[in-house]
């Protein structure tokens, strides 16, 4: 509706544009860089807002709908604001066999959020993910860019107390 029209004068930053251009160099068609462009903008802004999406679409000469189809297809492109770090918690079969359900409950208690929610201090967003490719070390999760393996309740306490990072837990 007209009163809800999204402001579409948000521009891409010079750095974002430079990085997208670098991707475009490999692409026969501009729209081929759609996923990379979304990732670039997300890296800079934390998430992809409606306004950012329109800016990317315009830059890649795509309709916002076409780009939205790509953006919403992938659950690691965030179309809503997320906390400083995203907790990607694996709940697929290997982790489930190794008892991820209990760990999940511990995280929920510790952070006070469930799947899809962000902590009140805006530090963490909890999202389920089907497999992180580390089944031999299940249960696993990623916090930001760090992989944490062989999770148990104690480890969860340490991770969120800031005592473990950079995959120290493995």
């Amino acid at each position: 509706m007209s009163q809800q029209l999204i402001q579409s004068d948000v521009a891409l930053s010079a750095e974002e544009t430079r990085q997208i251009d670098a991707e475009l160099a490999h692409m026969p068609q501009k729209s081929g860089a759609a996923i990379d462009a979304l990732k670039i903008v997300q890296r800079h802004r934390g998430w992809v807002s409606d306004e950012s999406l329109i800016a990317i679409a315009r830059y890649l000469e795509m309709s916002p709908e076409t780009l939205e189809g790509v953006a919403t297809f992938y659950n690691l492109i965030y179309r809503k604001p997320v906390g400083k770090k995203v907790v990607l918690f694996c709940d697929s079969v290997s982790c489930w066999i190794c008892g991820c359900d209990g760990v999940k409950q511990k995280i929920t208690e510790k952070l006070g959020v469930d799947y899809g929610e962000t902590t009140a201090d805006n530090q963490y967003t909890l999202i389920p993910v089907p497999c992180l490719g580390a089944c031999d070390k299940a249960p696993v999760m990623m916090v930001g860019d760090d992989l944490h393996t062989h999770l148990d309740n104690e480890k969860i306490d340490q991770i969120f107390a800031g005592k473990l990072s950079d995959g120290e837990g493995s």
Binding site: M1, S2, Q3, Q4, L5, I6, Q29, D50, L53, I54, M62, S63, P64, E65, T66, E68, G69, T72, F73, Y74, N75
Partner: protein
């Protein structure tokens, strides 16, 4: 032909088909959702599952998707076996997990493919007890209603909207069980083919908004075969009526013309039939300017006495039927009849008719256009002047992909595979227009040129094909070479042009290209567009013998005309106001026959209420030269009468010779065909009124038409006698036989178990093929011996001037057409008249988008809103043709005009349209307790 065995029975089927098509063609009921005869197979819904066995010994078999499996000789299949049936029932149960079962409040109910398929597979008990997904619906504009919860994710909508019609603003969003078909944000769907979503969607996600707001079930609609009056393409429609109101237009399948699809102007533009400004009674103007209603008989005798008193002239109309025009011409005499078009327009349509009947090229149907493998469009902005033609051109651009598929031995219906293979490769489409068109995305090259330069480009291509060279083309000569070689390399090249630029050289150049290709022994197609639904018909009738508009005006000025009869024509749209005022001032009485109030009607002494296309019968001749019949959908109310009936009765009152034999439609038509050689074919357009379908009339009402008695119970409990139709083989009743008749007599399509429009496959020879009972319409124009091209007619190159600009018409799919503008939904999209200017010119004038500019044409000044568009040809300025306020610019087309900034211009405020008033309660709460209707 391969033989396949289905459930033990041997069937011969056509090679190259898939199992689903084969089953449907055999008359077997195999349920499906995502497959569409025009869009092919993608195998997404899993509904058309069958079991295929390896050999006679194999008893287990494997499940295959009918739409994805080619027929192979000796294939053994099970359609009705338990495995296949149970699988299909389970598929539909899972598709229905999130479906809200809201059929009673759904506009699709009663013609829902999902309902039909659910019943067909026998799935009855739902086992799912969990929560259903719910979605927020979007506002998609005044035409389409969105109810996403009903979606079963068949992907047909995006496949039609994006892949078939080239739209970009509808997409499949999200994934797994969150898939959502919609826009990025609320807003009007931009494609002019969006209305087809209503018919493409197998359930009620996309429904006809004007119908939803004034609703009747399909089974309660009375329908008749009709022809769209929105442009000259002549799409076949099936309008539905209830309570004396035209409720909706649905596509009526005609393989040769519109196939399965219509444009939105046609689908939603017919609402003018319900307009408040319809005329119901004859009226005589009083001295104070008001009209006094008079009885029809009095009106006739008054007109008769006017006719007897003095000289009479008649002005016909390109939007009235051949028959009405014929009767008027006969009534006033050949030499007192004017076709009702401006002289320029008349000459152009005449030129088109002559070109089509002299050239050896075929004037193609849309179906033939889809088979062209190289296209050159000269000057015609088909997306706006003949939208359905633009959709056909999109399909012809895909012939490259079809060829690639054939080379790879891919089946032609393997849609996803073929699209993946071809990506963005298209058959060559070259576009020369005065501005960018909406076919840009499929164009190999496009160029914006002044009309004369478009003609020069055409002549240059023609010369290039014949091996000579047209000098003075400058930077265009490379393009000319490319076009010429692409057309020469094609198997079936198509040239598209038309009258819309009001430039005869453009049409001439198109004919020149065609003739050059023909001399290279090419199977060439020539499609020429004309302005209105019966421009071609009235031109063939006139045959160049009638009065030109200016000649008529002159003879009126000399006092040679006492009474002027105007048939369904608003003269103020044809000529500058002063000219028309002068003409009307020079005659004694004006008699106007029309359906809607307009300026000409308001100037009349005597007004006669005409029935619209929905309440009368008649014949239109399309731009292709195809004569097609339309029939009354419902009986005209009050004193409204079909124009041909008014004129026939007038002739009888006057006692004119022969009019006693012109009381019936078939008589009028036969006499017209006998008398006018060019129209001799029209009687074959449809069967006459004596035609019976196995001894029965053809019903306009479906078998389940309800409430014929109850609807009048407050007046009388006795059911009134149904109106009798003596003019056609159709009846105003559910009695009769609506199966197996020619497609020109198909009121609606319904077959047991198939309540939706998908039932059409039960009437076709094969899926996507001809209607069993014969196709609709007849082509009146056949190719001739070869057109003569005057080599001298190449116009001079256009040189932009520093001060003035060349005035050219631009067209709007919503707004340029007279009648559809009167439909409320189309009116919301039409906007106001605009002047389309390049930015360098607006900079000179120091104006911006939305400011006002004064155009000076022939001494008169017109103020219009500016739309900045840099795609318009250099040195040109466009105005939105046909929109109120631009009438006096029409005579300035092709001349140089000067612009200046309009002082005191009030910029138009952003318009809030009814459907997005922020203060209105949302539709969900409207009407609930305490929430008023707004």
């Amino acid at each position: 032909m391969p033989t396949i065995y289905i459930d033990g029975q041997a069937y011969e089927v056509e090679e190259g088909k898939n199992l689903l098509e084969a089953c449907l063609n055999l008359g077997l009921d195999l349920p499906y959702f995502c497959w569409h005869p025009s869009m092919g197979s993608i195998g997404s819904c899993r509904q058309c599952a069958m079991v295929q066995y390896q050999n006679e010994e194999d008893t287990r078999g494997r499940i295959v998707m009918g739409c994805m499996t080619p027929v192979t000789d000796g294939a053994r299949l099970s359609l009705k076996g338990d495995t296949a049936s149970e699988f299909r029932a389970s598929v539909i149960e899972s598709l229905m997990l999130n479906h809200p079962h809201d059929c009673p409040v759904c506009a699709e109910g009663g013609e829902c493919h999902l309902q039909d398929m659910t019943v067909m597979v026998g799935h009855r008990d739902r086992h799912y007890r969990g929560l259903k997904n719910t979605h927020r619906n979007q506002y998609l504009g005044p035409l389409i209603n969105h109810e996403m919860n009903r979606c079963i994710s068949c992907y047909r909508c995006v496949r039609f909207y994006r892949d078939y019609a080239g739209g970009t603003d509808l997409a499949a969003l999200a994934s797994h069980d969150h898939v959502y078909f919609g826009r990025h944000q609320d807003g009007v769907l931009q494609s002019e083919f969006a209305g087809n979503l209503v018919e493409v969607c197998p359930t009620g996600v996309f429904t006809d908004k004007p119908l939803v707001n004034d609703y009747s079930r399909k089974w309660d609609l009375q329908s008749a075969p009709s022809i769209c009056v929105g442009c000259a393409v002549g799409c076949n429609t099936s309008p539905g009526e209830r309570y004396g109101r035209l409720k909706r237009i649905q596509n009526r399948y005609n393989q040769q013309v519109n196939g399965y699809f219509l444009c939105d102007r046609g689908r939603f533009g017919a609402d003018f039939v319900n307009s408040e400004s319809r005329l119901n009674f004859a009226g005589v103007r009083q001295d104070d300017g008001s009209y006094q209603a008079i009885k029809a008989d009095d009106a006739l005798s008054q007109v008769a006495s006017l006719c007897q008193k003095g000289a009479v002239a008649g002005i016909g109309s390109p939007r009235a039927s051949v028959e009405a025009n014929y009767l008027l011409r006969r009534l006033v005499g050949d030499s007192h009849f004017c076709s009702g078009m401006s002289d320029v327009e008349h000459a152009l349509v005449q030129q088109v008719a002559e070109a089509l009947s002299t050239t050896r090229a075929v004037s193609p149907s849309l179906h033939q256009i889809e088979s062209a493998d190289a296209v050159l469009i000269l000057g015609e902005d088909v997306s706006n002047t003949a939208p359905r033609l633009a959709l056909a051109l999109r399909q012809s651009a895909r012939n490259k992909a079809r060829q690639m598929a054939e080379d790879m031995r891919l089946e032609p219906w393997m849609d996803a595979a073929i699209r993946n293979l071809a990506q963005n490769q298209y058959s060559p489409v070259f576009i020369a227009g005065v501005h960018e068109s909406r076919l840009e995305d499929i164009a190999a090259a496009s160029v914006s040129l002044a009309p004369d330069d478009i003609a020069r480009l055409g002549f240059a291509v023609a010369a290039e094909i014949s091996g000579s060279h047209l000098p003075g083309l400058g930077h265009l000569s490379t393009l000319v070479g490319t076009i010429a070689s692409a057309l020469k390399a094609a198997k079936k090249p198509l040239i598209v042009s038309g009258t819309s630029l009001m430039n005869s050289a453009v049409i001439e150049s198109a004919v020149a290209v065609v003739e050059a290709l023909l001399s290279e022994e090419k199977n060439t197609l020539l499609s020429l567009s004309v302005p209105e639904c019966n421009s071609m018909g009235v031109t063939l009738l006139d045959g160049g013998k009638g009065l030109g508009f200016n000649v008529l005006a002159e003879s009126a000025a000399q006092g040679d005309i006492d009474t002027l009869i105007v048939l369904e024509n608003d003269l103020y749209r044809r000529a500058p106001t002063e000219t028309v005022d002068q003409l009307l001032g020079n005659i004694k009485q004006l008699v106007v026959l029309d359906s809607l109030d307009n300026a000409t009607l308001s100037a009349s002494y005597l007004a006669l209420p005409a029935a619209t296309f929905a309440e009368s019968e008649g014949t239109f001749v399309s731009s292709e030269g195809r004569a097609q019949r339309y029939y009354p959908v419902f009986v005209a109310e009050d004193d409204r009468l079909a124009s041909w009936q008014w004129l026939s009765e007038l002739g009888q009152v006057l006692g004119l010779s022969g009019f006693d034999q012109l009381a019936h439609f078939d008589q009028v038509e036969q006499t017209c065909a006998d008398e006018i050689p060019a129209l001799s074919g029209i009687t074959a357009a449809a069967p006459d009124h004596l035609f019976r379908n196995r001894g029965l009339k053809i019903p306009r009402q479906p078998a389940r038409y309800s409430g014929r008695t109850a609807v009048r119970a407050n007046v009388s409990v006795h059911e009134p006698k149904q109106p009798v139709d003596n003019e056609s083989p159709l009846s105003f009743s559910m009695e009769g036989l609506g199966v197996g008749q020619p497609s020109s007599l198909m009121s609606y399509s319904w077959s047991p178990g198939w309540n939706s429009n998908q039932s059409i496959q039960k009437f076709q020879n094969e899926a996507g093929g001809e209607i069993k009972g014969g196709s609709s319409g007849i082509r009146l124009i056949s190719p001739g011996e070869g057109a003569k091209i005057e080599s001298l007619s190449v116009p001079d190159a256009f040189h932009p001037s520093n001060t003035d600009l060349l005035l050219v018409p631009v067209y709007r799919v919503f707004g340029s057409d007279e009648l559809s503008r009167q439909a409320p939904a189309i009116a919301e999209l039409s906007g106001d008249a605009q002047l389309v200017v390049r930015s360098e010119n607006v900079n000179k004038l120091q104006v911006a988008d939305g400011d006002g500019v004064v155009v000076v044409v022939d001494g008169s000044e017109v103020v219009l809103e500016v739309l900045v568009d840099d795609s318009i040809a250099e040195g040109c300025v466009g105005f939105t043709m046909g929109m109120p306020g631009t009438e006096s610019l029409v005579i300035g087309i092709g001349s140089m005009v000067s612009l200046r900034r309009a002082e005191n211009w009030q910029p138009r405020k952003p318009q809030l349209i009814a459907t997005d008033n922020p203060n209105a309660p949302s539709p969900d709460t409207r009407g609930q307790r305490g929430v008023p209707y707004v």
